[in-house]
């Protein structure tokens, strides 16, 4: 299924903009490209416009200006043909508390005019099984825990084989075991060729499962691309662990290492320019009588990249 769309983009927006009635600019000139077959992480602090973007992509909100294409079709005009191929979990699950888990899925499946009513029960059973809710399927949804509701929401998104899955904070409310299960489910779906668009505020989650990522802040797109490139964009840190931090800092400074930070048990600084061999640096430290316990360059995490981009901590609301 992925073969037909390989090389194309599954989601593409051009100058997508949403200004709400109050004049508040929620999304500002967004140019987003989600390649087919990717697991795309959509990052940003609360209030940065992620959910508004997702709602525009799903045809729930009309953009003020700009255009969005999903599976090659313009949204929101083509909702009827596009959305049967898209599974979505938007801003947490929403269920009919007075219906059982199974009946909730039957209701959502009935809402899809492309779903064959003859195979409805089998589809629902498969989806329940896939998220591990078969045993609780007969219970009323209001008795579900947050994690079970989240799973049921995921099951609704998985009722049909999808070409695109849009998952807004899918591991919210899950225990660590549940998180692992969801992540492995996402990987499994991605290996089947489904493109997964995953919004999250958990950077390590994005780093673990995503191949691509985009970062938003205050309604604007800061960057997008393969996760490896984004992390590489932020430079790592040279970390020296030593009981003699003062001496180590002096030696490193002589060798031209910039941005030194001295702590009780070590020194960190910018890694040297590519011309300098790290081994020579270490040898110089030892030759100067510095007792070195640990020496190396720590790879930059996505969080470093994020902080470098936004210039602020992650939980700051835009």
């Amino acid at each position: 299924m992925a073969a037909s769309t390989a090389g194309e983009s599954v989601i593409e927006t051009r100058a997508l903009t949403k200004r709400y009635g109050g004049g508040q600019l929620a999304v500002d000139g967004l140019d987003l490209t989600v390649p087919a077959g990717s697991v795309f992480g959509f990052l940003g602090p609360n209030g940065s416009g992620k959910t508004t973007t997702i709602r525009m992509l799903m045809g729930l909100i009309a953009p003020t200006s700009g255009a969005a294409r999903v599976l090659g079709e313009p949204m929101p005009r083509a909702t009827r043909t596009v959305l049967p191929h898209v599974g979505a979990l938007i801003e947490g699950p929403a269920l009919y508390g007075y219906l059982s888990g199974r009946d909730n899925l039957i209701r959502y499946d009935s809402a899809d005019p492309a779903a064959d009513p003859r195979t409805r029960r089998a589809r629902v059973a498969t989806a329940l099984d896939r998220v591990g809710l078969t045993a609780a399927a007969g219970k009323k949804a209001k008795a579900y825990s947050l994690g079970m509701k989240q799973r049921l929401g995921l099951a609704a998104a998985l009722l049909q084989p999808r070409r695109l899955l849009v998952l807004d904070e899918p591991t919210n409310g899950l225990d660590p075991q549940g998180m692992r299960e969801i992540r492995s489910l996402v990987r499994e779906l991605a290996s089947d060729g489904t493109t997964v668009f995953l919004s999250s505020h958990l950077l390590d989650e994005i780093e673990q499962v995503c191949t691509h990522a985009a970062v938003m802040a205050r309604g604007r797109l800061l960057t997008q691309g393969p996760v490896a490139e984004l992390a590489a964009g932020a430079r790592g840190r040279l970390v020296v662990t030593t009981p003699d931090p003062g001496d180590a800092a002096r030696v490193l400074k002589e060798r031209g290492v910039a941005d030194l930070t001295v702590t009780d048990d070590g020194v960190t600084g910018e890694p040297p320019a590519p011309g300098t061999d790290l081994a020579d640096l270490n040898a110089a430290l030892v030759a100067a009588g510095v007792r070195v316990r640990g020496f190396g360059v720590e790879r930059a995490s996505l969080e470093d990249a994020f902080v470098a981009l936004t210039g602020e901590g992650f939980d700051v609301a835009g």
Binding site: R55, M58, G59, L60, I61, A62, T79, R80, T81, L83, P84, H85, V86, A88, I90, E91, G92, A94, L95, Y96, G97, Y98, L99, D103, I106, R107, Y108, D109, S110, A111, D112, P113, A114, A115, D116, P117, R118, T119, R121, A122, R123, A125, T126, G153, A156, Q160, P161
Partner: protein, 299 residues
């Protein structure tokens, strides 16, 4: 039925053509009915409606059992109440006349007001729309389900009244308002016709409630507004100085259903009532459609 049907990809080879062909399947309507009638709230509303004819029947029975049966014809009370002791069938007409000004439209207002706004406040609206239910299709389904509720609610009142009337009072030939006598079978047909006309009289407030429902994301607010409008309209209809606008109030000719008990039937007000309900359905139905199809779904 078995897993063997789960696997085929037949349902999945969707491109625009088969989707378009199957867009008007009744699956969503059936699901809507199940969802509506499985709620405790709906069942409670129906139970209250069923209680009215039982109460009226028992009250009339107690009132008249002490005196001689013929002396029950006091002045007040809903239409036809004086005839109940002679013929239990009249309890149907009395119960409908008693519930139509308030109980029935209130129940319809609750269901109609909650239709879209309730889904919005529960958050389920966004999932129905990305399913994708389609906005026009969902609105039409909601309206159809609300009108089904109008019919069911009216029939619940009529059926309970008939059962109570048959239990407590004698049945027999029916004396019409015009003074002529018709057979019991003919009387039953008239009762059914009256129930249908009463259900149709609720079409206007159903459309109004649905429109209100598209304006807000709070189900409670939409229900309260719709019931509030009902009360306001009922009050306006009582103020003599406002007689100029009264013919346009949706409740103005509600009690015209009594004309079906004339011989021959006096159609003038009945037709005007149904026309007015149609007008309300058209105006507020279009308004609801215009609002809902252009609305940003932020809930």
């Amino acid at each position: 039925m078995s897993q063997a049907e789960a696997a085929p990809v037949g349902a999945v080879t969707v491109d625009s053509v088969p989707v378009r062909k199957r867009i008007w399947t009744l699956g969503l309507f059936r699901s809507e009915l199940v969802t509506t009638f499985r709620r405790w709230r709906t069942l409670a509303l129906l139970a209250v409606l069923a209680g009215v004819p039982i109460l009226v029947g028992i009250a009339v029975k107690i009132e008249t059992s002490g005196d001689s049966p013929a002396a029950g014809g006091g002045g007040g009370g809903p239409a036809f109440i004086a005839q109940i002791t002679n013929n239990g069938l009249f309890l149907v007409f009395t119960a409908l006349a008693a519930t139509l000004p308030f109980f029935l439209p209130m129940a319809v207002g609750v269901v109609a007001g909650d239709a879209i706004a309730g889904e919005a406040s529960a958050g389920t609206l966004r999932y129905l729309l990305v399913a994708p239910a389609g906005r026009t299709r969902l609105l039409l389904t909601k309206y159809a389900a609300t009108m089904t509720f109008c019919l069911v609610a009216t029939l619940v009142v009529a059926a309970t009244a008939l059962a109570t009337g048959a239990l407590l009072f004698p049945l027999g030939d029916v004396v019409t308002i015009s003074g002529t006598r018709i057979g019991f079978g003919e009387g039953l047909v008239r009762a059914l016709l009256i129930a249908l006309v009463v259900a149709a009289s609720l079409v206007g407030i159903a459309a109004l409630g649905l429109f209100v429902s598209t304006l807000t994301n709070s189900g409670i607010a939409a229900m309260a507004t719709t019931v509030g409008l009902l009360i306001t309209v009922q009050i306006l209809d009582q103020i003599p100085q406002l007689h100029a606008i009264q013919p346009y109030l949706f409740s103005h000719r509600w009690l015209s259903f009594a004309d079906l008990m004339r011989e021959p039937v006096y159609w003038d007000d009945l037709v005007k009532n149904l026309g007015l309900q149609g007008l309300y359905a058209a105006v507020f139905g279009s308004a609801a459609w215009a609002r809902f199809t252009a609305k940003d779904i932020t809930a």
